[in-house]
Assembly symmetry: C2
Homo-oligomer: 276 residues x 2
């Protein structure tokens, strides 16, 4: 963690992702109030932290290809530790596991990741970015309530804004919006991992209320290479999320994150636990 | 492993999934030639094995919600061991990790899983099963080549069959087909995990050739409860798979597995490494 006088000038995301290396593959961090969610830190920041720790392992080569983050238990306010293990070191891919734990509370988060050495191969892009109105034509979402992380993103919805409403007809689960860090910040992989969890809960979208809810597991595939991240810079990302089924206390969500130039930066899938 | 005289009467999937408990959470198994793929066992069977071992842990409660399997290195012909750890035991979910290793070869496969106690909640099913011709109207796929696992599934394609073809125009990545174990076998979670990887490689579908290719990581979400599996029994499942982008040596795939009665049994996502 950065204790220098410049610490206050850090972007809030960089402050939340700040890790102190205690030993190779062993990192210390601390939750920050700027990304607080209902009952713990915003899961996207936890995902970004797990990825940042893996990328900071001294044996890591290449860039992230896939990240699965399992939210095992609530992360309490305060310090945490992340330990990273290289499970298998291959020629073209490396497989990783990581654990976030808090003293006296056990394991809060587990993760696995695949990183890959950059290679030039055949490329083909059958998926197309959806057409939505330009960001300038859409109002910035003004969040209500105490979840501070919502204030850390600029969101401009092309679909109905995620706001509680009177019980009534169910709506579709699709959200399409422009999104980026607020203040704007050049995109990197941990930030992209965080944005992949920035879709406000689908039950609110569909049913209009906010029951007790928590992501159980989140998997993100990174299709963007470092050059694509650099092209994207701090420009708005087009996010698309939808859900297929709510049943037996769980529902799925699949999301796409599209770059400003129409390139698919990442896809992300999650299972969400809900009550009621 | 079953050494009884009845062993030969086992369904080939049950033979492939046969595990001997050596200690709580520690299991021994062996690859079988019936599910061989290009350079190792069919990944779906490996996924089924990881899940079966987790479900056999003495502290496991409930049913699978999510499974991520990381294919870290090739599994060699012969014996393997799977060790399972309960990472966190919560009231409504349990978080698991598992490792498959082979003596002298290290870790071949890692996995994480979420299991959940069955609960009745609000249910809603916005996704719809696609309409494809009835199974009887579609020819059974007759696989060519040496990959024995392809002979362990009945597959009836509504979209073009996955066969090598002359270089030419690229096709779409969508596959829709009816699929079940061959011989037919009542569906359980390990079998469903295996079927979630039964979509023949997307590059063959799109480009028409089979380059060196391997799944890096596979995540499956189980939406079916045990009653839904029982209703499904040994009937054909409607499988749908598509891909969004091939780039820098990796591509994604998302798949849905629909039950005979139109219920979504599972969704599955993977990242595939390819060469060339």
């Amino acid at each position: 963690m950065t204790d220098s006088p410049d610490a206050e000038a850090l972007h809030p995301l960089d402050a939340a992702l700040d890790l102190l290396e205690r030993a190779p593959g062993r990192f210390a961090g601390r939750t920050t109030p700027e990304y607080w969610n209902m009952a713990g830190p915003f899961g996207g920041v936890t995902a970004g932290l797990m990825l940042k720790a893996i990328l900071a392992h001294p044996e890591q080569r290449g860039r992230p290809v896939a990240l699965t983050v399992n939210f095992c238990g609530a992360v309490a306010e305060g310090p945490f530790e992340i330990t990273v293990d290289l499970v298998r070191d291959g020629k073209s891919t490396q497989h990783w596991s990581a654990i976030m734990s808090q003293e006296g509370r056990g394991i809060a988060t587990s993760a696995t990741a695949v990183t890959g050495v950059e290679r030039e191969t055949w490329g083909h892009h059958p998926a197309r970015r959806p057409e939505i109105p330009a960001a300038e034509a859409l109002p910035a979402f003004v969040p209500e309530g105490r979840n501070s992380w919502l204030h850390r993103y600029e969101m401009r919805y092309a679909t109905p804004e995620p706001r509680p409403r009177e019980p009534g007809e169910l709506r579709g689960g699709l959200s399409q919006f422009w999104v980026r860090d607020l203040p704007a910040r050049p995109l990197d992989y941990p930030a992209l991992a965080a944005i992949s969890d920035s879709f406000v809960i689908r039950i609110l979208q569909v049913r209009g209320d906010i029951p007790p809810v928590a992501t159980s597991t989140l998997t993100t595939y990174f299709l963007a290479d470092p050059a694509a991240l650099e092209r994207q810079g701090d420009k708005l990302i087009l996010g698309v999320a939808d859900t297929r089924a709510f049943r037996h206390g769980f529902h799925d969500q699949s999301a796409e994150l599209w770059g400003d130039d129409g390139e698919l930066l990442a896809v992300s899938h999650q299972v969400v636990w809900f009550k009621g």
